[in-house]
C-alpha cells in the first residue's frame, strides 16, 4: 500500500502575486467590506458587551477556587498538601491541624491561595484526593485594589458556593 501524497500547489509565486499590489487590493476589498458592514449597522459586530453582558461559563472553566464541604458544612479538605505539592506556581499555603469530628484526623487551619501567583492551571483540583478543592465558582474576573486582598483564606474559599449543579460539574459541561 502506498501512501497517498497530495501535492499542494504553493501560492505566492506568480508574477502578479510577487508584485503584491493585486493581492494587497484583494485583501483591502475584504476588509473594506467588513468596515462598511459594521459602519452601517453596528449591531452586527462580533462583540460581547462585557461587563454588562456576562459570558456564559462552562462548568469546565477553571475559575476562582473554592473549598467544598460535607453535608454538615465541615470542610472536606484534609490538609494533605497534595494541591500545594502540585501547584506549579507555589501559591497554595496550608497550615494543618488536628481534627476531632471523626471524619479525619487532619484538617486545614489556614488555607491561603495567592490569586496573583496562581496561573489557573487546575493542577490542584486534579491532585486533590478528596474533591475538596474545585475551580467551579464561575468567578473568572479576579480583581482588587490591593495585593493583600487577593491572598484569600479558608473562610473565603469555603463560603463561595459552586457556580454549577453537581450533575453539570461532573458531566464537565455540554
Amino acid at each position: 500500500m502506498s501512501i497517498k501524497v497530495r501535492v499542494v500547489e504553493r501560492k505566492g509565486r506568480t508574477f502578479l502575486e510577487q508584485l503584491y499590489l493585486v493581492e494587497v487590493v484583494k485583501g483591502m476589498t475584504v476588509t473594506l467590506g467588513h468596515f462598511f458592514r459594521n459602519l452601517l449597522d453596528n449591531s452586527r459586530l462580533y462583540v460581547r458587551h462585557y461587563p454588562e453582558v456576562k459570558p456564559e461559563i462552562s462548568p469546565r472553566w477553571r475559575g476562582r477556587h473554592r473549598l467544598t464541604r460535607h453535608e454538615d458544612g465541615s470542610v472536606k479538605c484534609v490538609a494533605c498538601f497534595m494541591c500545594q505539592t502540585n501547584c506549579p506556581s507555589n501559591c497554595i499555603m496550608i497550615e494543618a491541624g488536628e481534627r476531632f469530628d471523626g471524619r479525619s484526623e487532619k484538617m486545614p487551619v489556614k488555607f491561603d491561595i495567592d490569586l496573583l501567583e496562581c496561573i489557573y492551571c487546575g493542577y490542584c483540583v486534579e491532585a486533590c484526593p478528596m474533591d475538596a478543592i474545585r475551580m467551579d465558582t464561575g468567578i473568572f474576573s479576579v480583581t482588587s485594589n490591593s495585593r493583600e486582598s487577593l491572598l484569600i483564606g479558608l473562610e473565603q474559599l469555603m463560603e463561595t458556593p459552586g457556580g454549577f449543579s453537581e450533575v453539570d460539574y461532573h458531566k464537565g459541561g455540554g
Partner: protein, 428 residues
C-alpha cells in the same frame, strides 16, 4: 500692508498650524474606530462626559489627560539627556513644518490683490517637503541612539535604512511627475490640475502618472513609518523600537508626530495626484461664475444629507442589549437635535448670502471655503486609506522591505521616467 493682508496671513498660518493638530485628534479616533470596524470590533465606546461619548472622541480627551499627568521619566542610564529630549520635538516639529507649503485653496483674489493660500507661500514647495521630511528621520535615529537601549538602537537603524531606501523611488517618481507639471511650486501644481484632459477628464496627477502614483504612495507609507513598513517599532521583536524608553508627553509627541506626518503626507499625495483642492469639473472660475446655483444646490443637499445621517445615528447609537431606560437614546436625541440645528444655522447663513451678499468678494470667499472643504475631505479620505492599509496588511519582513524598495520600486520608478519622458518628448 493693509489690515486685511495681516489678517489673511494670520489666518493662513493658523490654518497651517492648527489644522494638522486638530486632525491628530480626528485621526487617532479614526484609527481606533477604523481598526475596530475593520476587525469587527466596536472601538472606544465607553469614555463619556455626562453620557456624551461623541462617537468615541472623548476617549482621546482621556488619553490626553493621562499622558499629560503621567510621570515624565528620563531613565537614569541615559547619558545624552539633551538629545533624548530633543528627539521627540524634532519628529513632531518637522512633521508640522511640512504642511506649511501645501496650498489648501486656490489663489484668493480680493479686489486687485492676490493671496496664495499656503501657510508659508514658497515656490520651492516640493523641495521643501523633501528636505524637511528627510530631517524628521533624524529625530527617530536620535531617539533610538540616545535611549541607550538595544531595541531603541535597532529601531533607529531600521528607520534610517528604510527611509534611505524609499526616498530614492519617491524622488524618482517625483521626477517624472515634475516633468509633467513642469514646476516645483505646489500652488502651480494644484492649479494645473484644474484643467480638463481631452475636455472631460480632470487632469489630476493620478491620471497623468498612473504608475508614479502607486510608487509615490507606497514610498510615502514607508517614509511615515506606517504599517506595513513600521519595522522601526515592530513591537513583536523590538518592543517599541526607538520610543521604548519614552513616556508621558515625550511619548505623546512621537505619537502625535506620527499622525501629523500621516496627515501631511496624505495632504501631499492629494496635492500632487488627486487634484489638491480642486472640485472635479468645477474650476475656480466656473464656481465663481455660478455661485448662486451652487448655493441653491447646497441648500437642497444639506437637509437630505442630514436626514440620512440622523437616521444612521439613530440606528447605530443605541445599546445592543437589554438596558432599562437606555441612556444612549438620550444621547442620540441630543446628537440629532444638534445636527438639525447645525443644518438650520447653515441654511440661514446661505440664505442671507443669497439675498444680501451674492456677487463680488463674498463669492470668492464662498469658493475658498468650498475648496478648503474639498481639500480636507480628500485628505481625510487619504488618511482613511492609511488606516485601511494598516489594519489590512501585516508588517513586512525586513528583507522583503528592502527587496521591494530596491528590486521592484526603483526599476519601476526608472521605467516610469523613461515612459513619461518618451511621451512628453513625442507630444511636444
Amino acid at each position: 500692508m493693509s489690515a486685511l493682508d495681516i489678517l489673511i496671513i494670520l489666518l493662513r498660518v493658523a490654518f497651517g498650524a492648527f489644522v494638522p493638530l486638530s486632525f491628530v485628534a480626528v485621526l487617532v479616533w479614526m484609527e481606533r474606530r477604523g481598526a475596530a470596524f475593520f476587525q469587527d470590533r466596536a472601538g472606544p465606546n465607553r469614555c463619556n462626559v455626562y453620557g456624551i461619548r461623541a462617537g468615541g472622541l472623548i476617549q482621546n480627551l482621556a488619553d490626553g489627560i493621562k499622558l499629560i499627568f503621567k510621570e515624565d521619566i528620563v531613565p537614569g542610564h541615559i547619558q545624552h539627556k539633551l538629545y533624548f529630549i530633543l528627539a521627540p520635538m524634532l519628529v513632531f516639529i518637522t512633521a508640522l513644518l511640512c504642511f506649511a507649503v501645501i496650498p489648501f485653496a486656490d489663489v484668493l483674489v480680493l479686489g486687485d490683490r492676490e493671496y496664495v493660500m499656503q501657510a508659508v507661500p514658497m515656490d520651492v514647495g516640493i523641495l521643501w517637503f523633501l528636505a524637511v521630511v528627510g530631517f524628521g528621520v533624524y529625530g527617530i535615529i536620535l531617539a533610538g541612539w540616545s535611549s541607550h537601549n538595544k531595541y531603541g538602537v535597532l529601531g533607529g537603524l531600521r528607520a534610517a535604512a528604510q527611509v534611505i531606501s524609499y526616498e530614492i523611488p519617491m524622488g524618482l517618481s517625483l521626477v517624472s511627475l515634475l516633468a509633467v507639471y513642469g514646476t516645483v511650486d505646489l500652488s502651480a501644481i494644484a492649479q494645473y490640475q484644474g484643467q480638463l484632459l481631452f475636455g472631460f477628464i480632470p487632469a489630476w496627477g493620478f491620471v497623468l502618472q498612473p504608475l508614479g502614483v502607486i510608487i509615490f504612495i507606497v514610498a510615502a507609507f514607508a517614509e511615515t513609518n506606517r504599517t506595513p513598513f513600521d519595522l522601526a517599532e515592530g513591537e513583536s521583536e523590538i518592543v517599541a523600537g526607538y520610543h521604548v524608553e519614552y513616556s508621558s508627553m515625550k511619548f505623546a509627541l512621537f505619537f502625535m508626530g506620527e499622525y501629523v506626518a500621516m496627515f501631511v503626507s496624505s495632504a501631499l499625495i492629494v496635492t500632487l495626484y488627486f487634484g489638491s483642492y480642486q472640485i472635479p469639473w468645477l474650476s475656480t472660475e466656473t464656481l465663481v461664475a455660478h455661485a448662486r446655483p451652487v448655493v441653491i444646490l447646497l441648500m437642497i443637499g444639506l437637509p437630505v444629507i442630514a436626514y440620512f445621517f440622523a437616521g444612521w445615528i439613530k440606528k447605530n447609537n443605541r445599546t445592543h442589549y437589554y438596558r432599562a431606560d437606555d441612556p444612549r437614546s438620550r444621547e442620540t436625541a441630543i446628537y440629532v437635535s444638534l445636527l438639525w440645528s447645525l443644518v438650520v444655522v447653515l441654511e440661514v447663513i446661505l440664505l442671507i448670502y443669497l439675498i444680501f451678499a451674492a456677487g463680488g468678494a463674498a463669492d470668492r470667499i464662498l469658493v475658498l471655503l468650498l475648496q478648503i472643504g474639498s481639500f480636507l475631505i480628500k485628505t481625510f479620505l487619504m488618511c482613511f486609506v492609511y488606516v485601511w492599509v494598516r489594519w489590512t496588511l501585516p508588517r513586512f519582513r525586513y528583507d522583503q522591505l528592502q527587496k521591494i524598495g530596491w528590486e521592484k520600486m526603483l526599476p519601476l520608478a526608472l521605467l516610469n521616467i523613461f515612459i513619461t519622458g518618451a511621451i512628453i518628448v513625442s507630444f511636444s
